[in-house]
């Protein structure tokens, strides 16, 4: 069959850059599934795009669907004929609906009995006719984070909300235009055609910026776009931006500091360029965090390390008159001047004196102000400090300073600096390092992927106390996340607590050995709220680990309890399981444990009596177990679960031989009981790390 290419460009007003990577993915998914549904599987599909255009290209698309034969089932045979054997209205109706006579219908046997049926041959439709429907479904199916009404409708007459208005559309199948129309109230309809548009402001010599140009193929579109100052290929756009940035880094003799993703910046532009800007040295007196927030969050500029300088990306390639550099510098200076004003002004008042002002900052309508929240957090943090062997007076001091920065001018202007500013003001006002760092980092980490983390032990404690209070107080007034509704981000708060408990050891070299259960008990009295919060935390804990470990490993460890042991302990057990996973001995042993579990399910084994062993293999297993037990016990006691499992795994040959040669359910009751006791002993040795019978062997998964 003849094949042609399908080329589709959706030209938009500027889409939000942060949507683009998701949109390209969704677009590809939708087009692929629509093509499959139409009977075009395995197509060569490319999707790319910038903030002003989304492009789809299918290199080879059959010119029509294959013809199809489908069986349509009608009424059951028993109601299809009357007593005289004549066709009933049900049968005649079914035949008529399908345009055939009842006599030509077939009878098919199904699970539910005999039915009338007919084979319907459907001729495959032409691709050029199918594409407009596909396009409409794809466009309607794109899941924008926020939709916009623009008084547009498609041919079905129904409203067509989209991310931003569509202003042009290229739609070609081979050399033909695929007809597609978007009607817009009060303006001309958008009709598909052969014409694309380039960069908003840049154009090749002799043509006007924004003028249309026609294309016949994907290759030509890409080529023409490049001529018209648009790089369609996202990775190429990134590379070009990176190159421009690297050039200026060399020129400045410095490097970008982390904070801004070049990938995001590459989505903001179609023709990347960059300019190097500087600001007066006096602003170096402002903390780096503040300067970088101005540059990164407010301007999408890249700060340079050590220097009062930055790189501002542009959408223009070059800066012929120096306007872009000058403009960027002016904006930055104005912002920094504001920030410096706030810094000086905020410093006039000690952070610790701001507590009463928190009365005016609402935490939640049912829970009062942040001042009230603080009254709960300080003693909670102190309790956790005492219980975990942290320095109570420092924790208490840090907790008493939390949130006071919410009423500073700086945080009013730059809300994303909350916490950090508190820490910086505390530092500048002479608080000890343990205290200011704790305040600085007490919001961290939020959620599962946040790379930030409390900077010290006191920070870990106040971070837990603050989040725990948020959860406990919200649950106590009935605010419980359900389904997709979690308006206060409580899931992320819970994940934050669990991550501090789990990761303090690897990140800060100390462990907080306290169980979630005990923590929850510090924040809530027994009752419904506590029960709900415990369920919630257990579910979050499972979630934390399910991202890092296989579900059966999580089941195996959680079978021993979850909230009632330190999170880091649960983590070490899972680490051990995951480390041994895949080793032949471990897999074999877990199979054996399934058997042991089944055998023991309704038995009550007693003590092992070595004298009662009959077979050599059972004695060998017993002796081997006795031999490794002291070592394994020592590892267990030290929390070295992997080593414990490894030493127990050396039992595998003995276990294998035992099952090969020994009949557990022996005729003789005392022999049988003794064998069961041995298996129980074996199970309990391993079972102190995890319930291995939960492990699903590789072959069964």
């Amino acid at each position: 069959m003849k094949r042609s290419a399908f080329l589709w460009e959706i030209g938009c007003e500027e889409l939000p850059a942060r949507w683009l990577s998701g949109l390209r993915r969704q677009l590809e998914k939708k087009v692929r599934s629509e093509l499959e549904a139409l009977g075009f599987p395995e197509t060569e599909l490319v999707v790319d795009g910038t903030l002003r255009r989304l492009v789809v290209h299918v290199a080879k698309l059959d010119e029509a669907q294959a013809d199809r034969v489908e069986q349509i089932t009608g009424p059951p045979l028993k109601i299809a004929r009357d007593a005289d054997g004549a066709w009933t209205p049900a049968a005649i109706g079914f035949a008529r609906k399908n345009g055939v006579s009842a006599d030509s219908l077939a009878i098919v046997e199904t699970d539910k009995g005999a039915y009338l049926a007919l084979e319907k041959k459907t001729k495959g439709r032409k691709t050029i006719d199918l594409l407009p429907e596909l396009m409409a479904r794809v466009l309607r199916g794109l899941p924008f984070p926020k939709f916009m009404h623009w008084d547009a409708s498609l041919e079905d007459g129904k409203p067509f909300p989209f991310g931003r208005p569509i202003r042009w559309m290229v739609a070609l199948y081979g050399a033909q235009v695929v007809p597609f129309v978007i009607d817009v109230v009060g303006s001309k309809s958008v009709k598909s055609g052969r014409h694309s548009r380039g960069h908003r402001f840049l154009a090749p010599k002799g043509s006007r910026p924004g003028a249309r140009f026609s294309v016949t193929s994907y290759a030509e579109l890409k080529r023409e776009l490049k001529k018209h100052y648009v790089i369609l290929d996202t990775s190429e756009r990134r590379k070009r931006l990176e190159k421009a940035l690297a050039k200026l880094e060399t020129k400045a003799g410095s490097e970008r500091v982390l904070g801004l993703e070049a990938d995001l910046v590459a989505e903001l532009v179609e023709w990347p360029g960059a300019v190097l800007g500087t600001y007066p040295e006096e602003f170096l007196n402002l903390p780096e965090e503040v300067r970088h927030t101005v540059l990164v969050h407010h301007q999408h500029y890249f700060p340079l390390a050590q220097l009062p300088a930055f790189i501002a990306p542009t959408n223009m390639g070059t800066d012929p008159k120096g306007n872009m550099r000058k403009g960027a510098e002016r904006v930055v200076v104005a912002r920094l001047r504001d920030a410096l004003f706030f810094w000086d002004d905020d410093m006039k008042k000690p952070l610790s004196d701001r507590e009463p002002e928190l009365e005016g900052v609402l935490f939640h309508a049912k829970l009062g102000s942040y001042r009230e929240k603080k009254k709960r957090v300080v003693p909670l943090a102190a309790t956790i400090a005492v219980r975990t062997g942290s320095r109570e007076s420092l924790v208490r001091r840090a907790a008493s300073l939390l949130k006071n920065d919410l009423v500073t001018g700086m945080v009013g202007e730059f809300p994303e600096l909350q916490g950090i500013m508190g820490g910086l003001y505390a530092r500048a006002q002479g608080e000890p390092e343990s205290v200011w760092k704790a305040v600085y980092s007490h919001y961290d980490p939020v959620g599962l992927d946040d790379e930030r983390f409390p900077l010290n032990r006191e920070g870990a404690v106040v971070s837990i106390a603050d989040k725990l209070d948020t959860l406990a107080s919200m649950f106590s007034v009935g605010i419980v996340p359900t389904g997709s509704r979690d308006p206060f981000g409580l899931r992320r708060q819970a994940l934050g607590i669990l991550r501090v408990l789990l990761e303090s050891e690897s990140r800060l070299s100390f462990s907080i050995d306290i169980t979630p259960e005990e923590l929850l008990g510090m924040a809530l009295p027994p009752g419904e709220a506590l029960d709900k919060l415990a369920d919630f935390m257990a579910e979050r804990l499972r979630f934390v680990f399910s991202r890092r470990y296989r579900y059966d490993e999580v089941n195996a460890v959680f079978a021993l309890g979850a909230l009632d042991r330190p999170v880091s302990d649960v983590g070490r057990r899972l680490e051990a399981l995951a480390a041994l996973r895949g080793s032949g001995d471990f897999e074999a042993l877990s199979v054996a444990f399934k058997r042991v579990g089944n055998i023991l399910s309704d038995q009550e084994p007693g003590e092992v009596a070595p004298a009662d062993f009959v077979e050599a293999e059972e004695r060998e297993l017993y002796d081997a177990l006795e031999a490794v037990a002291p070592e394994a016990d020592a590892f267990l006691a030290a929390g070295r679960y992997e080593s414990a499992l490894r030493s127990l795994s050396t039992l595998r040959p003995h276990v294998d031989r035992f099952f090969d040669e020994v009949l557990v359910m022996a005729e003789d009751a005392s022999v049988r009981r003794n064998r069961l006791a041995l298996l129980e002993r074996l199970r309990s040795s391993f079972g102190r790390v995890a319930d291995l019978s939960e492990i699903v062997p590789a072959g069964d998964a």
Binding site: E13, E14, P16, A17, R18, K146, M148, H149, W150, D151, R164, P165, R167, V184, V185, G186, S187, K188, V190, R200, F201, L202, P209, G210, L268, Q299, Y301, A312, T314, N315, M316, D319, P320, K321, N323, M324, K326, G327, A328, R330, V331, V332, V333, A334, R337, D338, F341, G360, V361, L362, A365, S369
Partner: protein, 283 residues
């Protein structure tokens, strides 16, 4: 280009495109959006094209005339195109060209920035327009006003005149702007800023302002019941400004704050419904 020339240039530009040049509304307000020529005109089905300058008071933004960028009262040039033409962005860019900005020599961007006004029950989708990194305009496709879904939608362009002119005149301090030939922004406006800030931060009589708020609210409701939509809306605008004054004065507690915003919003939504009803009756 001095401040008044900028106003002339932009209003002329839009008047040449068939836009009605309206005048500022004579009641205090925080933004050009609150002018009835925007808030009420975007409701209902009839096309409308209008532009005007609106002095916009934001009591909490006052800085006693000391800050080079922040003002108690700044000027917005507001354009409403209902429905928005397909080339609305190009028309906007042409207006910048009319001000002497050659887009080939600058970096002009449309960056995502949606707009929402809780007190007006209004929101829209759009961008901030950045000129070499400086926000010079807000560009919004109105989706809802007074709690009512709009159809057709309106395109709203709001130029921050001081910002834009500071860029054009290459000055870093708003008071250094030339307003008219030989006359500075400072001469025209500085005292207004100093006294406006003193008034809203230090002097506004809290009890009186509170009482005025309650009175204006009651009056708005009464007028609405009497079928006088525009006068009712004026009283709603007064409430909004009185609330802003109380807020700047530090006289609004947290719980009260939300409640007051909701009261103004309720008024605005009631006005919008009543106005929509009169439009339907008329048609």
């Amino acid at each position: 280009m001095n401040f008044q020339k900028l106003i002339f240039t932009l209003t002329r530009f839009w008047s040449e495109r068939g836009v009605v040049i309206h005048q500022p509304y004579d009641t205090e307000m925080g933004a050009g959006t609150m002018h009835p020529e925007t808030f009420l005109r975007v409701l209902g089905p009839d096309p409308w094209r209008v532009a005007y300058v609106q002095p916009s008071r934001r009591p909490a933004d006052g800085r006693y005339g000391d800050n080079p960028n922040r003002l108690y009262k700044h000027h917005q040039l507001q354009v409403i195109l209902k429905p928005p033409p397909a080339d609305i962005q190009d028309q906007y860019l042409d207006s910048l060209k009319a001000c002497g900005i050659d887009p080939r020599e600058h970096d002009i961007r449309f960056e995502e920035d949606n707009w929402e006004s809780p007190t007006l029950g209004a929101w829209g989708i759009g961008w901030q327009v950045l000129l070499d990194g400086l926000e010079i305009s807000q560009f919004t496709y109105f989706q809802q006003a007074g709690g009512i879904e709009l159809s057709p939608i309106s395109g709203e362009i709001t130029y921050g005149l001081e910002r834009l002119d500071m860029y054009l005149q290459n000055v870093d301090d708003v008071y250094d702007l030339e307003w008219a030939e030989g006359v500075s922004y400072r001469e025209v406006r500085h005292r207004d800023e100093v006294e406006g800030s003193k008034f809203s931060f230090d002097e506004a009589n809290v009890e009186l302002t509170r009482a005025q708020f309650d009175q204006a609210k009651g009056e708005s409701e009464r007028l609405l019941a009497a079928g006088l939509v525009l006068p009712a809306y004026e009283q709603c605008l007064k409430c909004s400004h009185l609330f802003n004054t109380l807020d700047a004065r530090g006289a609004v507690s947290v719980n009260e704050r939300m409640a007051m915003i909701l009261q103004v919003r309720d008024l605005a939504c009631a006005v919008a419904s009543a106005h929509t009803a009169t439009l339907e009756e008329a048609s």
